[in-house]
């Protein structure tokens, strides 16, 4: 087995990101969709850290801190929306919230 290189990290990040995308597209439970979004943000962080190590540059770490801050805010707002939707529909299934489909 070859040594671990930058491309392995990029590949891992891409696998996690794709799983997140598929989760957002496939799942109908709003909570699981939000978890898949967190997965995608985490995959981006892996990429940033890997390139930071390759280049010996701290910028990637600082950007990852900002990504984590935005992810925390997004989780708080998203879960508040889940609770608001649950009050309205008594369900967190996305099929129940399809009024705008036309």
């Amino acid at each position: 087995m070859t040594a671990v290189t930058l491309s392995h990290w990029v590949g891992l990040s891409f696998v996690l990101f794709t799983i997140g995308v598929v989760g957002v597209l496939v799942r109908r439970n709003l909570l699981t969709v939000l978890m898949s979004i967190e997965l995608m943000l985490n995959a981006v962080n892996i990429n940033l850290v890997a390139f930071s190590r390759q280049l010996g540059d701290l910028g990637g770490h600082v950007l990852a801190v900002f990504v984590i801050a935005v992810a925390a805010g997004e989780a708080a707002i998203g879960l508040a929306l889940v609770i608001a939707l649950y009050r309205l529909k008594s369900s967190v299934n996305l099929d129940e919230a399809a009024e705008m489909k036309g």
Partner: protein, 196 residues
Amino acid sequence: MDAGALFFWVFATLSVVGAAGVVTMRQPVHSAICLLATFLAVACLFVSAGAEFLAAVQILVYAGGVMVLFLFTIMLVNVRKQASERYVSRTAGAALLAGLLLLVLVGGLAVGDARRWGDSTTGTGAFPPPSAALSSVEIPATSPGAPPERITGNSQAVAWSLYRDWLLPFEVASVLLLVAMIGAVVLGKRTVEKFD
């Protein structure tokens, strides 16, 4: 295979298995536990890449804060009723195909590019060990004539970069978190009239 590569493969596998569990588990609580496993595995990977501060933040913010938020919300919504509902969308096959295409086409391009680019930057293609720039920082002398000071530690280096070069984005992020907090309170508090 050396210990570093073994470490990477173990925790990469763990994170991918956890991520797959998030998407496939039927109950949201099981998804949340799988997500926790992924977060912890990614934190371990961060340590191996020389990002100790980020690993700590990952565990504190994600495995601590975000996970508690998720578990509280799962408690507040009625999980038992959803067990009978459909949990995958009608277009699940197309979504899986799209994900596969994304992985093979764009992911293949990205990995190939990263390999070539990594070869060109280091010459050997090997992943360099975490360099000293990630774990130490040189502070200019406070008084004229004094030698510059050098402090070590990844947290110190990140803090130095964050509070000097990225001060404005840092302040904007704090405002963003305040707005998110107020927004979450307002959204969670207001009672919306039912309509059907």
